[in-house]
Symmetry: C2
Subunit: 434 residues, 2 copies
């Protein structure tokens, strides 16, 4: 490894005071004040539709096509399928099967109860009509994200599932993305990337229909575009930020396994973060040594080296402190490798997804165990769930009151409405019972 | 009624083409580009804490107090309770009981399934730790909203429920708000209103703790503040906008009832909107006449008169068209008064809350039937649910894989990770199985 890479090291911090935790666990928070031109792109797509979209694709995706070529055609799907190896097909089948089983089990029951005589209240789960998925291009074709978003959309019963993704250097969409899109029930795929694609799915263009909710990861421009449209017209899955992992481990953990998970997180990008929290000084030191050893064998060293510098190993005295630190950090991914890992997990209140024991690497959830990999980052796990079946549905309430029911409930409504100074509300009961 | 009031009339539109619907159902969409100084207020609270908050309360709420007086004290709760009539107490009890029954029925089951041998995936519902409720002051003390937000928070098991509300002209918080807050398990109440209160709950001050999610209605400054903090640090319930109702009615409906519901909606504020959609020309005309008659008896004519102008009666040919129009508009409140109202309701895919038949006024859901009244406006019902039990919880996924389980799943993970170019992900399986 060259000198520059070696300069970035992960530090061990021993027994910090609780008052220091916030600073140790600090994430980079980007100011949302400057949108670097994203707002203008969104505005131009809203006004200019296909024409504006095509001109942005020419600039940013080096793609010079007509509106009629935006949508991926059946023959392109066929061509993509032919290029996928049998081994990858089998792996994708297994992942889809597991993701399908776990998300199908999440179906909510509709409910109906009579809250008082003659007053029936219902709650009904209804699929969101049209959802838009965004799959970034960039350094790797994230076909696993197609599975994670399209499978629950299909189980929820969304009528239309559209997908935008940029073409690669070849001018084509990654074949793995098309293959998974077809297998998972995506209705239409469009060759469009970046904030312009987000705006197109939010406002609709002549070719791309407007979605009711947009899902999927992306760089900071895509994230900004999602934030902008979510204020105006179109729901989004969740606030997005750099990926992160926290590992809680004691002396029963294997430093080789811990290190591999640490590095798997860091290869995602230069802004990734990994935090190892341990009660074992030995484990901390062994992991630090193992980091250099394993890193030397990996290909994405550039990303890893950069994010090693924002990663940290923290030594604490007790299991209880480890749990407190995890709940304060609210990690996207939380790996628990302690002797009593199940007991520890029960105390976790803030995390996106939890990985238990020595044989549950985070990569299992990233790809194939069945859980979703679209998870809240940046501490949002305090209030947000990861993508799950309910992300693709909404709950509508329905009430039906009989004349007798209203005779019972009416006076309550009138009294409360009058106390709030809303006599037209009281009147709507009065005219019915009068 | 004076001339000016009579000038604003609700129009009847007969059998519009579908291409005209969007224009007829147009809502006022405020530009989110200008925040009218709200961003600066939020920033100052983040930096200045209590001191900044107190100075804003002095300016906007005419409240000149010390930090130690921000929190409502036990004796103030006692004083409030003494001022509430027995009639109102009984009404509030009934409303709380119904809201509690309906929301308690919404508890989600945790799930656990073995997606393949040795691979167990779980989904667990966990309460959000600390939630912040905002209750506006203004023309009426909205104590019903305290019930609608605090009851599900309590059922969900949120550890802390804080509430901010401005004082009235008397310098005190409305006694109805304090009474309901205490009954529904609110932990602490603070005398703070407007965007400064939202920022205080998002970032925390020396006195007000930072909440993980903020709920509640407010004017456009409060809404803007919620949007700003939701990009930075704190989740919010949903995008908020003016209240609205759509009524689907045929010749079996009673124009007196329809009119009362129409007017109840409009008294909310000058930006409210009501839309009556009917297959009966007679009903349209009778409702128009009845509007003048009933309005004359009501007190909030100023609001009603203003919002009558943005309200409309639409005559369509078929039930099917009515359903289509409702799904396109995605109303916050949808009243269905047709002969086959249950059948009609089954076809509705976009609405916040639905009110069925002649004896279910919207005001029932606003106060006391059991359903929640915090609902998506502005067409957001296409993707958002109203506030419900799950708004106060998040879902954490947990997975546990045995060594044998990883032997089965590992090759799938490795194949997919390598295909995405992420060899550190593949490595985290390899080190465990090697």
């Amino acid at each position: 490894m060259d000198q520059k890479i070696m300069e970035k090291r992960t530090n061990i911090i021993y027994r910090p005071q609780k008052s220091q935790w916030q600073n140790i666990l600090k994430r980079e928070r980007k100011s949302s004040k400057n949108d670097y031109g994203t707002g203008l792109i969104v505005e131009n797509i809203e006004k200019g539709g296909d024409k504006a979209l095509l001109s942005y694709l020419k600039i940013f995706d080096s793609l010079d096509i007509e509106a009629s070529e935006l949508e991926v055609k059946p023959e392109e799907f066929k061509e993509a399928e032919l290029s996928i190896s049998e081994e990858l097909k089998a792996a994708v089948d297994c992942a889809i099967s597991n993701v399908r089983k776990f998300h199908a089990a999440q179906k909510s029951q509709d409910i109906a109860i009579e809250t008082m005589p003659g007053v029936v209240c219902r709650q009904k789960n209804v699929p969101i009509n049209r959802v838009g998925l965004y799959i970034p291009g960039g350094t790797a074709p994230l076909f696993s994200t197609v599975i994670m978003l399209a499978v629950p959309a299909q189980i929820a019963g969304c009528k239309e599932v559209i997908l935008c993704t940029p073409v690669g250097k070849s001018g084509k969409v990654a074949p793995e993305v098309l293959y998974c899109a077809k297998l998972c029930g995506v209705t239409r795929v469009f060759k469009a990337g970046g904030p312009a694609a987000i705006a197109a799915m939010a406002y609709g263009t002549e070719t791309i229909p407007a979605a009711d909710k947009i899902f999927g990861p992306g760089n900071s421009y895509v994230t900004t575009a999602k934030q902008i449209v979510s204020k105006e017209i179109c729901a989004i899955d969740m606030p997005a930020g750099p990926s992160e992992v926290m590992i809680l481990a004691d002396s029963t953990a294997d430093p080789k396994f811990i290190t591999a998970d640490f590095l798997a997180q860091l290869e995602h990008g230069k802004e990734s973060q990994a935090v190892l929290v341990t009660t074992s000084e030995n484990l901390a030191l062994e992991t630090l040594n193992e980091l250099d050893r394993q890193m030397a064998t990996l290909s994405r060293q550039e990303y890893i080296a950069e994010s090693l510098g924002r990663s940290v190993i923290v030594v604490l005295d007790t299991q209880e402190q480890m749990v407190d630190m995890a709940n304060e950090y609210a990690p996207e991914h939380l790996i628990i490798c302690t002797e009593n890992y199940r007991e520890t997990a029960e105390k976790i209140t803030n995390a996106g997804s939890i990985f238990l024991g020595n044989y549950t690497p985070e990569s299992a959830g990233d790809y194939a165990s069945g859980t979703n990999h679209t998870l809240p980052t940046g501490g949002w796990a305090k209030s947000f769930s990861g993508v799950n079946l309910s992300s693709f549905t909404k709950k509508i309430t329905i009430q039906e009151i009989t004349r007798e029911g209203l005779q019972g409930l009416g006076p309550v409504i009138e009294t409360m409405a009058n106390a709030e100074g809303l006599d037209a509300h009281a009147n709507s009961v009065k005219v019915r019972l009068g």
